[in-house]
């Protein structure tokens, strides 16, 4: 069980997040929808320890508080982030990227099984093991990014707009993959602009506007909600 409670973040005077609370159970897929600039990336970075949180909030994994730890310790506890724009080790090979994903001590023991699982999920990567990440296509880079996060054997996987820049076909494949990742009892927090496909695989969803949570419901209810349809699903193509 992942719980983020009362998270607030400010960039100087600019308040980007105000009192945001989110929970994700093991094996659950939770979508977070919000317009550009709503604070979605900021929330994920705050959880990962990459931006400073205001005092008063907390992050817990299975009841254990991890909010104050440095980023590398948070990964060690089992929270992995696939950032916006992938954030690969550009100049390293596919296999080196994946190996680095297994850097946390907790992940070392199961490194070879996890690698097998990742290569099973993304067979292209097996053929391109020795290729430098920078020279891969956008879709393949996204696979490396997700695979690297999976190599850390996370309990909680956070993805920041993973479908950005992918073709519709690759997008569908990506969401199918995430549904398979969930089967390993990993909790998934999916930040997306592609509301239609993310709500289709999610169990629940949150709406984030101007740094505040403005709605929370089951994914099915959100997909049926007229105001959600107008804001995130496009009036022309109701779900």
């Amino acid at each position: 069980m992942f719980e983020a409670r009362h998270i607030s973040v400010a960039y100087g005077k600019h308040r980007a997040l105000e009192d945001v609370s989110v929970t994700v159970a093991a094996g659950e897929i939770v979508a977070m929808l919000g317009a550009n600039g709503a604070g979605k990336s900021t929330f994920l970075k705050a959880v990962a320890g990459l931006v400073a949180k205001d005092a008063g909030g907390g992050v817990a994994l299975d009841g254990r508080e991890i909010g104050a730890l440095p980023p590398h310790e948070i990964v060690e506890r089992g929270i992995a982030l696939v950032p916006e724009g992938r954030g690969l080790f550009d100049d390293l090979t596919v296999i080196e990227n994946l190996t680095l994903g297994a850097y946390p001590r907790r992940a070392r023991a199961s490194e070879s099984e996890n690698l097998e699982r990742v290569l099973d999920l993304f067979p292209v990567l097996a053929q391109r093991r020795r290729q430098v990440a920078r020279t891969l296509s956008g879709g393949q880079q996204q696979m490396v990014a997700i695979g690297t996060a999976m190599m850390s054997a996370p309990f909680m996987l956070m993805l920041d707009e993973p479908s950005l820049g992918l073709s519709p076909m690759l997008c569908t494949e990506l969401f199918r993959t995430l549904a398979r990742v969930r089967e390993a009892r990993v909790g998934i927090l999916l930040v997306e602009q592609n509301a239609k496909q993310s709500l289709a695989i999610a169990d629940r969803g949150y709406l984030l506007e101007n740094g505040r949570i403005t709605g929370e419901d089951s994914a099915a209810n959100l997909a049926d909600d007229p105001s959600v349809q107008a804001a995130y699903l496009g009036a022309a193509s109701p779900a």
Partner: protein
């Protein structure tokens, strides 16, 4: 032929000192202008053990490696890390670290002057001739070269075949992605800084077997190492190694064909040509 062989032999030891600087800059992102003083300290160490108790420099450079590592690790941990922590950008850190290490270089020069005085020093180690294709060369140059080559190859293999080596390369490629996969970037940087210092000190010990040193000559070696690392493209130690040979050959050619006083000037001409025509280094990749 003479020039070629002496140039290559010199390039070997240059490669070692430059690779030390490169580890510090590439991984820890500190442009260490006190690198030359670490090199001179290494030369003093080799000199002192050789003249004092007849210990071969080849043993000394390995023996003092842990000391050099610890000293450089501590420089990073206690002097550089506070700068890293408060810097807002890489450019900001670069300015801070250049000023801080430049200041440090004066402190180190002062300490060495106090300990050893301002005299030139040298010693004769393996000054026997050695024939390559009928021409005699000094054995110490050859041995220093072989030693340096073994260090460089060993380091390359370590960086590419071990998890710790991969970790250092990861930090050099992207500190941000490193943090995300759970690498303690500050710890890895301190390790690289210490290792780089130990390698530079070893390079100094090897160079002292055939060059003359004094306490304040470090700045010249800092400049040479900078020229090599920037020429090599900053990213891959193979670039620095090749660039070190380019510099060794250029210096030797200029010294024997034109005038020994012009070696440093020649190094700069090569450097400026590279900056003008290939700013990403001879082997570097253009930023995209």
């Amino acid at each position: 032929m003479d020039i070629l062989i002496i140039g290559v032999l010199l390039g070997g030891a240059y490669a070692l000192m430059a690779v030390g600087l490169q580890l510090q800059y590439g991984v820890a992102r500190i442009m260490n202008l006190a690198n030359g003083e670490i090199l001179v300290a290494g030369a003093f160490g080799a000199f002192w053990f050789f003249t004092g108790s007849q210990v071969s420099p080849l043993i000394t450079v390995i023996g003092y490696a842990p000391v050099a590592f610890a000293a450089n690790w501590a420089i990073y941990r206690y002097l550089m890390l506070p700068l890293v922590r408060r810097s807002k950008s890489e450019g900001h850190l670069e300015v801070d670290s250049i000023l801080a290490t430049f200041g440090l270089s004066f402190i180190l020069v002062g300490v060495m002057l106090a300990l050893f005085g301002g005299e030139f020093f040298s010693y004769s180690f393996l000054e026997k001739p050695f024939d390559i294709m009928g021409q005699p060369y000094e054995q110490n140059r050859l041995v220093a070269f072989l030693y340096a080559a073994a260090f460089c190859v060993g380091l390359y293999v370590w960086l590419h075949r071990t998890r710790m080596g991969l970790t250092l390369r990861a930090v050099s490629v992207s500190p941000e992605a490193s943090r995300r996969v759970g690498i303690d970037v500050a710890g890895a940087s301190a390790l690289a800084f210490g290792l780089g210092g130990a390698i530079t000190a070893a390079g100094g010990g090897l160079l002292s077997t055939f060059l003359v040193f004094d306490a304040s000559i470090g700045i010249i070696f800092t400049m040479k190492a900078l020229v090599i690392v920037i020429m090599g493209g900053l990213r891959d130690i193979r670039g620095s190694i090749v660039a070190a040979f380019v510099l060794g050959l250029t210096e030797t050619a200029v010294a024997s064909l034109i005038d020994p006083g012009l070696t440093l000037a020649a190094a700069y001409v090569v450097f400026i040509l590279v900056l003008l025509f290939r700013p990403q280094g001879i082997f570097g990749r253009r930023a995209t």
